[in-house]
Every structure is written in C-alpha cells, then in structure tokens.
C-alpha cells in the first residue's frame, strides 16, 4: 500500500496529466483568418480546348467502317491562360497546363485570396485554347463580402463559363 504522501503525489500528477490534456485539447483558441477578412477561392478544373479537323470523304473512305469518326482531334489539350484582377490590380497571371502523361487531362487551379470584407471589383479572364488570341471567357462584377464569407470563382460550361458563387 503506497504511503499517504505518495498517494497525494499521484493524485497531483494524474490531475496534472488530465489538466494538461484538457487544456491543450481546447486551448488556446485558433482563428484561421482575422475578424474583418473574407476569402475568395479561385478554383477551376477544366479540360482545355483542342484544334480538330474535319476529315474529307476520301479520308473517311480509306478508313475501316467502324473507325470513320468525322473529326480528327489530337489527344493533347491546350494550356489555359487565366488572369484575375482585384479592384483593378492584377492578382493572378498564370497558364494552367493539362495533367496526364499525354497532356490530355484537365487543367486545374486552386488559390485562396484573403481580402478585407466589403465591396470589391473582380475581373476574371480565361482562354482555354491558346492557339486563339484573347480571352474567350470573361467574368467581371462587383461583389460585397461579409467578414468570414467564402466566395468561390469556378468554371462550368453548363453555367455559361466562369461564375461567382
């Protein structure tokens, strides 16, 4: 049977163990972003365009019947150029490359921008076929962000291209 002093010592030490776990299991508090900050997430996953050529009737005739696809498309996808301006200032200028060993996968990007809550002017431009000049997808607008709000900039051809959410 342990001595009373040993028992007291054990109680103190087990108590300290529990207190240590209890404290660091909840404290100190952690805040990922400041109170007056909002978050813009630019996240796009898109298959770049490619230049297809229409096969001539002669070419099709030479092909086996089961392989007569009217269009001749390369496997590789185009890089995608993406730009983003925030309040008139360029915050992103990048070229997204297709994934895959044969560069036939989607091009992706995921960026976070912490901005002060409030009103902001955003412009996003994208060109998914770099053979052609300029930008074939553009989205501009003024947004009003609350503190802690997450705004997403995404791309979906079915939703008309670039969109804010």
């Amino acid at each position: 049977m342990p001595k009373p002093t040993a028992i007291i010592g054990q109680v103190i030490l087990y108590g300290a163990f529990a207190a240590f776990i209890g404290y660091f299991a909840t404290s100190p508090k952690y805040r990922q972003i400041a109170d007056d900050v909002a978050l813009i997430k630019l996240s796009i996953s898109h298959l770049g365009d490619r230049e297809c050529r229409k096969r001539t009737p002669e070419e099709l005739a030479k092909m086996p019947p089961n392989m007569r696809a009217p269009m001749d498309c390369p496997r590789e996808r185009s890089d995608i150029r993406l730009e983003m301006d925030l309040d008139g200032q360029p915050v992103l200028r990048t070229v997204m490359h297709p994934t895959g060993l044969y560069k036939d996968g989607v091009s992706t990007i995921y960026r976070r921008f912490e901005v002060k809550a409030g009103s902001h002017q955003i412009a996003v431009r994208m060109n998914d076929n770099l053979v052609k000049p300029g930008f074939n997808f553009v989205k501009e607008g003024e947004i009003n962000l609350r503190p802690g709000q997450v705004m997403v900039i995404d791309f979906n051809p079915d939703k008309g291209g670039l969109f804010f959410q």
């Binding site: 342990p2 002093t5 040993a6 028992i7 007291i8 010592g9 054990q10 030490l13 087990y14 108590g15 163990f17 529990a18 207190a19 240590f20 776990i21 209890g22 660091f24 299991a25 909840t26 404290s27 100190p28 508090k29 952690y30 805040r31 990922q32 972003i33 109170d35 909002a38 978050l39 997430k41 996240s43 996953s45 994934t99 895959g100 996968g105 989607v106 992706t108 990007i109 995921y110 976070r112 802690g148 709000q149 997450v150 997403v152 995404d154 959410q165």
Partner: protein, 555 residues
Amino acid sequence: MPADLTRVNSPHEGNQYNQRLIVTGGTRPGPPVSFHSILRKGASSVFLRIEEALDGPFGGADNPLRHLGALGLYLLWIIVGSGLYLYTVLDTGIDAVYRSIGDLSREQWYFGGVLRSLHRYASDGFMLVMTLHLMREWCYGRYHGFRLYSWMTGVPLLWLAYVSGIGGYWIVWDQLAQVSATATAELLDWLPIFSEPSARNFLTPDSISDRFFTMLVFIHIGVPLLLILGLWAHVHRISHVDHLPSKRVMLATLLALLLLSLVQPALSNPPANLAMIPGALDFDWFILFIHPLTDLTSPALVWLLLLAVTALLFALPLLPHPAPEPVALVDPANCTGCDRCLADCPYAAIAMQPHPLRPGFKLAVVDGDLCAGCGICAGSCPSSTPFRRRDKLVTGIDMPQQPIHLLREQLEQELARLSGPQRVVVFACARGADASGLAATDTAVMPLLCTGMLPPSFVEYALRGGADGVLVNTCRPGGCDFRLGDRWTRERLAGEREPHLRQTVPAARLQLCAAAAGDEPALSAALNDLRARLGNEALASDRLPPYLRRVSNHA
C-alpha cells in the same frame, strides 16, 4: 564438445564473438562524439531524472513514464471501446452526423457524452504518450541493433495514429471539422498526387454529399485497424510484452480521463458551413497543430518538415552508435533443451530446434540479430550452477564477454581474498549504480552484464564458499535496460521463477537492492542494512554448511 558452436548456434557467423572473452566493466565502446550524441545524452539525462523523480510517488511498477508503451496501448483500447459505442449511434449524412453526435452529448451526457469525451481525451493522451514513448526510446538509444525492427516498425505508426486522429475530427462535421478538412485537403494538394485539387471537394456547401461521411467512417475505422496491426508487428519481436500497464495505472488514468470528461465534456462546435470561415475555435493542439503550422508557414515547408522528420527517424539507426554486445552462444553438449532461456529471453532471440546430436532432445538456437547480449539466458540455464564438479564450467548458453566459468573463478578468487567478520559479496548490474566504490577487504564486487544473468545458485555458492552475506543490486523496477532483468532476478531469488534460489538459503543473509546509475547512496545504504543484519548474533546459527568445490567429495 563445444568447438562447433558457431555453426550450430546461429547462421549469423559475423555476429558471433567467441573470440572476445572480455569481462565487462559496465561500459561498451561508445560512438564518436557528435552533436546528435551530445543532444541525446543531454535529453536522456533529463528524461532519466524525471523518470526517477516519479519513482518516488509511483514506484517503478506504477511509474507511467517507465511504461509508456503499455499506457499507450491502454489508451488505444479506451479509444476503441468508446469508439465502438459512438459508431453505433452515428448516422452518416451531412446533417445526420452532426445531429446524432450532438444529441448524444446533450441527451445522454451521463453515458454517451462521457464516452465521446473519453474518446477524444484518450486520443489526445495517446498522441502525447506516443510522442513521449518515441522520445524516451530515442533518448536511451533504443533504435539500433536488436531494437532496429521495433524502431522501424514504430515510425509508420506515427502517421497512422495521426491520420486516425485527424479523421475523427472530421466525422462530427462541425466548424472545426470544416477547418481541418479544408486545410488538410489544401495541404495534400501541394503533393502531385491528385489530378484535381482535393480541396475542390470542400468549395461550397453543395460540394460534399452523404457519401463523404460513409467513406470517412470507413477510413476512421480502417486506419486504426491498420494501426493495431502495425502495433502487433511493432511488439512482435519482443517477448513478455506489457500489453497493459499495472491495474493502478489503468484505474488512475481512467479516473483522470473520466473526471476530465465530466468537468469539460467534449462538445461540437456550430455545424460546418463551407460558405463561411469559422471564427475563433476551441482547438485540439495535440492532433490539429499541423493546420496553424501550415497557415504560419507554407504547405511546402510543412511537407518538408514532416518528410524530413520521418526520414530522420528511419535514418537514426544509421548514425554512429555503440558497438553491439556480443551475443549468447549455445553449447550443444551442455544444452538440455529445457526451454528456460526461451521463456526468459526478453527479445525472443531464442528458438528451440531438434538437437542435432541427441535424438528426442531440443537445442536452443540464438538469433544473433535479436540477441541483446544481456546474459539473462545464461542466468536461466540450469547448467549454469557453480556447484558442478568440472573444473571448466561450461553451461548450456553463455555470454562470451562474461562466461559463467569466469564468473565462478572470479567469485572463488574474491571469496579467498575476503577477510573480516562480515564478508559480503555484491553482485551488481553494470548498468545500475556504480558498485565499485564498495569494494574493500571484506566486500567483493562482482559486476554483471545484467543481474538477470546471475544464476541464483551463485548466491548459495557464495554463502557456502565463505561469504556471510550477499547483496544483489538490480536496476530500478521497470528501469532495466533489457526490460526484464530486474523482474526475473527478483522472482528467481524469491523462489517464484526457475531457476529458483533454494529455500535453505537464509533470507536474512541476502539483500536485494534496486539502485540505478546515480543511486550509489541507496546501494551503500543497502549494504549497511545487510551488515547491520549480519551483526545480529541470532544469524550465527543459520550459516550454511561450507562447500569448497576443489576439495568436495564430488570433485
């Protein structure tokens, strides 16, 4: 005929040391001094002092720091037990998980809520204990040689434990889960392993579905199962594993965690909403510390840190370290195949195989890679008794650096040298308290590789050879460098384990002491206690009949 030892004993010829007959003085050839060795030595000194300080209130057997592995396993069983109940009440679905766990804490706070809190706090405790266990083994240099396997199998468990812990936070799907899931996905996306950023799964409230939670539950159950499997492998090559700490430690730990669960129940934060970043959150720094670290630095730096630490842990055994101890050697002619060395070896380094020369008999075989060179097997061998007649005492299994024959010769020489009214022989572990200072004209000091290598019959042999008393010094309980040396010694001398000390040996003439390195005053006090007892005239009548091997009728 012991000439063919190496061939019979082990295929690891390179690990045999039968040419090196060195009686240990307690120190092995050390590695070259390096920053690492200085750091490790300093850390081990601090760790040892804390450990020994805790021996005061706890005692060696109940000292949690001496049983961190067993304590970790115990916490894991608490996690598993409480987790099984939580699984039964968990509804998988975006809203359902939050609601079902929240209801548990509110409506069944006295049972389900407590189990939930226990689950969380035991997980935190497990991370803490696991980290301390890792640090302790590193401090004491237990990562190379015969411990290499346990070290290497332990490193991946850190990752599995961490993945299990972090996944548990996601299941609740509250704001903390949202922060953790998003931050983890962003961290993972830094690695070129996904074709699409996994963080896209947490872009908006519509991004996740009920399927996510079904998968999460599978992960949160599957990874811990892998962890348990890994733990089995981790302890696979040691014997007499402490699967659980002592009952007192278990009860006290459970009570402490229960009390914490009642005082500060683990509750959910508000439900996750991917459209908003949560404000200040109660944060579990044991498991989720990686997210603030990433926010403070960068994913690249965190990955670099994690991979570098993992690589360093794997590479530690490659750093210079003390030369390995010579391993045990079996003498087939004297091995009776009794299994005692097999039963006592702390590292499962011994196996029994059919005796090549005696049909129907077994022979011990030593795996040189696993042998710690502690000599516990030599102490367990019934052939190690010094009362055997032959001049050259060859035992069944022996240590080349301190053979039993040499131990007997040394003891006989010391006994012949001793003079005075109270002649005492001190058998002392070379890794425990330094006993050399006790040597005197009436005191003989016999250092041992580990007291576990002392056949109990040597105590009787010393007493019948002229000693008035014997002092055996082990390391502190639970502090044996070879895990079981102190325990086997105590049990053998108490007659609870074979080979046992014969009951005819007067208990008053034997003093057992547990003094670790630095405890020299305690060892000295134990010797004084023994001398005081020997001074009692009542002891004069219990002297054993003398036995002098060289003139005995058996000789």
